[in-house]
Amino acid sequence: MSGTDKNVPAEQTPGTPGAPGNPGAPSIPGATGTPGATGAAGKPTAPSAQGNADKPGKPEKESSASQVVREIMSGSAMISVLAVVVALVIGGILIAITDTRVTTAFGYFFGDPMATLKAIWASISEAYGALWRGATYDPGARTWQGRLGIFETLTFATPLILSGLSVTLAFRVGLFNIGAKGQIILGATFAGVVGFMIELPPGIHLLAVMVAGAIGGALWGGIAGFLKAKTGAHEVIVTIMLNYIAVSLVLYLLKNQLRDPSSSNPISPRMHETAMFPLLLGPNYRLHAGLIVAILAVIVVSWLLNRSTLGFEYRAIGANPRAARTAGMLVSRGYITVMLISGALAGLAGVTQLAGTEKILDADIAGSIGFDAITVALLGRSKPWGTFFAAILFGAFKAGGTSMAINANVSIDIVAVVQSLIVLFIAAPPLIRSIFRIKEARSEGVSA
């Protein structure tokens, strides 16, 4: 105990063996020349074991949204694929047991079990066959439009990409944006005001429509962000409530100021031609230039999140707002700006709906896109490109679902069932693992 205890140099020279330029190798602690220094310089993993030993409950304290993001992002692609498979199987079972051919054949199951199996096969293959052809390519269709369903898929995917990005971006800052629906409605309403009430030269008009839509969505999203930042109001509750307020608001406007005088229904006049997205493949297909806007948005959001300083702030705030604040980031500004951007993206989704496919504003302009956006973001694991592919998949479900309803007489509602099951399974990897008896490859930290 003489006080020559200098086993850890205060000024560690960069020349310590194995340390610089080789982060893979754990650096070796300084000299351990003191007598009795038995276990002090143990294996590099040992201190880690100790630091956490007394507080294994730590993950509980994490904010719920960030925990979700972590779970979503740490799952493997395998889980996603299997989740889709299981969801489709369950959907298939539903289709089969509600098919009268199957139930009839089951009546004489013990006489002719094969008949039941055949009926089941026929029922499911017919439905999913129609789904697949409707979403991709149908050689049997009479018209070219019907044949190339893939373009219909992309048309449906366009607003899903944009609104999915909206949810994804907010997610990464630790906010659940359940309000895509309201933001889409407001975006479409603003876009509509510019699109059918004002006359502008081509090009500029569309640009103005897009800007107006983005502002409308940003405004609606910004309310939730502002209240979250300034009063701590939970964004989930606020955005849900704003969705319904948006519906009432647009209904009011459609009955009064925005109403098409020639119609008795609460719908707006048609958008001016100059305010609409040009069709990409001519008049036979609905696919419009909104898709290009959506793809650009994916690129921008991807850069924003991963490469920009703003995205760095967002990720830090999302994972640990208190530490972000201590490091000098303005958390409340982060909440407000991200909800503005997120709302703008959803607003643009509204623009693509109105100026791309619908052309007339009604109260149901958002359809189910608002909630689909959440499922898309979850399936896309809160990553911009993941969201893009998830949106394409769900777009395919929508395009194929329509064809399935017509050609196989299976209600399009089955698509909602499959979609929600996919998300449930993806969110619960242990369930999928237990279904397929997959062992967890590697445990991820302390997560339970």
């Binding site: 220094a37 590099p44 880690s48």
Partner: protein, 542 residues
């Protein structure tokens, strides 16, 4: 070092109804979380009616062991015996039924419930149909309060009570359930030295009444003062047992595993200009209560000011106010003559303040981000780490490699998430980041909480090195030992008010009185009268 005034009533004086005592034995208890072994074949015997101390560093596995004993965790292997009968606890209910009670380090009280509701919870008296009958519980609380001299109102809301009283509610909870073995997990961490003495008094009474006590602590003095037997745990293993007469040095060596130099060798401070000044600083919460009340102090270049006090007496508010994290601040804080009050955190950091927050996991690090990203958490906007709003990944990676080497951060890769690191290494990351800018003021709050001894020495040396480089340094710690070791001057806070500033080599007793709320003049007065009447608890060696 004399023992504090524990009133040791002889057991024989107590009525026989308390005589039923329990003996507790743990055999080969192992508990692992994944690959990490928190407890490794631990054997422990707590004789009935004894105070058995479990001594070990932070993270040695003491709390895990007690959670196993209390049925909160199920052991990976091993056996628990109560009065030589093997028991198997599937939950705390079983442990309680076996007569084991526990006062947790973080109190297990529902803040919005009353004392009576908290005590009743899980062991409710009910009348017909499960309707609560709290009258019975209130009666028991009063009975126990009278017996031990507690002043606890059964109808007070727990969230309104000071921590000392909350701890008594926890003890009442255990006693109401007829616990014969009481586990106290780091009970003194939240108490002043005087409150600690009171607690030890209570422990003495309980022991006299036949209750066996397991006392968990990493504070050598307390353990020596109260224990019948001491078991030392290190890295999840029992490394030895000792009697209370063992010397502090012996116990410390056993606990840490090698000879430890309990005092840091640092040169005397050579204070320069007083560049950091706090004048009449008051900090309020949203309800308008003063968390910090009219505090004035200053720190010179090349000097460490230690801020002592029991947790929750305004230290957090003081450091957070400097950093600009508080909304309601009155008074002034100046650094090099520039006012910091009213500035944003960003501006404060940019004016040359380095800050190590007291809770690194909550405030210091973003666990999900990589070590490299955490090392630039407050520098990401400046060159070379970003340009025109775009991050420069190469520069970030290069910085990480340098800092990991310089601060001896033991990690597989600097791209790993920060929460994969141990406590000590996490703290090194925070320190590395905060010391990587040219500083005009360095504030470190609880710089070594939950850190292993090897890292503590390293961290302390870096802090002293920063002082020697001429930076004013403020260290906030609730560990009096740490303050005494590092500080050139010591300021003591109590209930948000400054009790005074004393030299770094002041006596523990004096500081204890100040931490209990005596202004320095009165504390010195009392010290003097005590030494005159010859009842000094502890030598006041300057």
């Amino acid at each position: 070092m004399a023992a504090p005034n524990v009133r040791c009533t002889s057991r024989d004086q107590y009525p026989r109804r308390w005589a039923k005592t329990l003996k507790l034995e743990l055999r080969g208890i192992t508990k692992s979380f994944g690959t990490l072994v928190a407890n490794d074949h631990i054997d422990l015997v707590v004789e009935s009616g004894q105070i058995h101390s479990l001594l070990g560093e932070n993270g040695a596995g003491k709390s895990t062991l007690m959670n196993v004993l209390y049925g909160l965790y199920s052991p990976s292997s091993g056996q628990i015996l109560v009065d030589d009968v093997p028991v198997n606890f599937s939950g705390p209910a079983d442990a309680m039924a076996a007569g084991i009670g526990m006062v947790h380090q973080h109190f297990m009280l529902v803040p919005v419930f009353t004392v009576a509701e908290n005590v009743a919870l899980g062991a409710e008296s009910t009348s017909f149909g499960g309707v609560l009958n709290l009258a019975e519980t209130r009666r028991k609380i009063r009975e126990i309060s009278t017996q031990f001299g507690f002043d606890v109102d059964p109808d007070a809301l727990v969230e309104d009570l000071p921590v000392g009283i909350q701890q008594r509610v926890e003890i009442i909870k255990a006693l109401v359930r007829n616990s014969k073995i009481l586990i106290l997990d780091e009970p003194t961490a939240v108490l002043t030295p005087q409150e600690t003495d009171e607690l030890m008094d209570i422990m003495g009474q309980l022991k006299a009444g036949g209750t066996s006590i397991v006392f968990i602590s990493h504070k050598l003095r307390e353990v020596k003062a109260i224990s019948d037997t001491i078991t030392v745990i290190r890295r999840g293993k029992v490394v030895g047992s000792a009697s209370p007469d063992a010397s502090t040095t012996e116990l410390a060596e056993l606990m840490v595993g090698r000879a430890v130099n309990l005092t840091l060798n640092k040169a005397d401070a050579t204070p320069g200009a007083e560049t950091f000044k706090i004048n009449n600083l008051t900090v309020m919460n949203d309800a308008g209560q003063r968390l910090l009340d009219d505090v004035t102090l200053s720190v010179s270049q090349g000097e460490i000011l230690g801020i002592a006090g029991v947790q929750g007496n305004g230290q957090t508010e003081l450091t957070e106010a400097v950093l600009g994290l508080h909304k309601h601040v009155l008074g002034s804080i100046t650094l090099d003559g520039k006012e910091l009050v009213g500035k944003s955190v960003r501006q404060v950091l940019d004016s040359g303040v380095g800050f190590v927050p007291e809770d690194r996991q909550d405030d210091g690090l973003v666990g999900e981000l990589s070590i490299a990203e955490n090392l630039i958490l407050d520098l990401y906007k400046s060159a070379p780490y970003s340009r025109a709003g775009t991050l420069n990944r190469a520069a970030i990676a290069k910085n990480a490699i340098n800092k990991v080497a310089e601060f001896d951060v033991r990690a597989q890769s600097s791209q790993d998430a920060a929460d994969t690191l141990s406590g000590g290494n996490q703290q090194k990351v925070v320190l590395a980041r905060e010391l990587s800018r040219p500083l005009k003021l360095f504030i470190a709050s609880q710089p070594t909480r939950g850190v292993d001894v090897g890292s503590i020495e390293f961290l302390h040396k870096r802090i002293v090195a920063e002082r020697d480089a001429g930076t004013p340094v403020v260290i906030v710690s609730t560990e009096l030992d740490e303050v005494l070791e590092l500080a050139d001057r010591i300021a003591v806070l109590f209930a948000g008010r400054l009790m005074g500033i004393v030299p770094g080599k002041s006596s523990r007793a004096l500081l204890g009185l100040m931490m209990a709320g005596l202004p320095v003049a009165e504390a010195q007065e009392q010290m003097k009268s005590q030494s005159e009447s010859g009842t000094t608890e502890e030598g006041a060696q300057p």
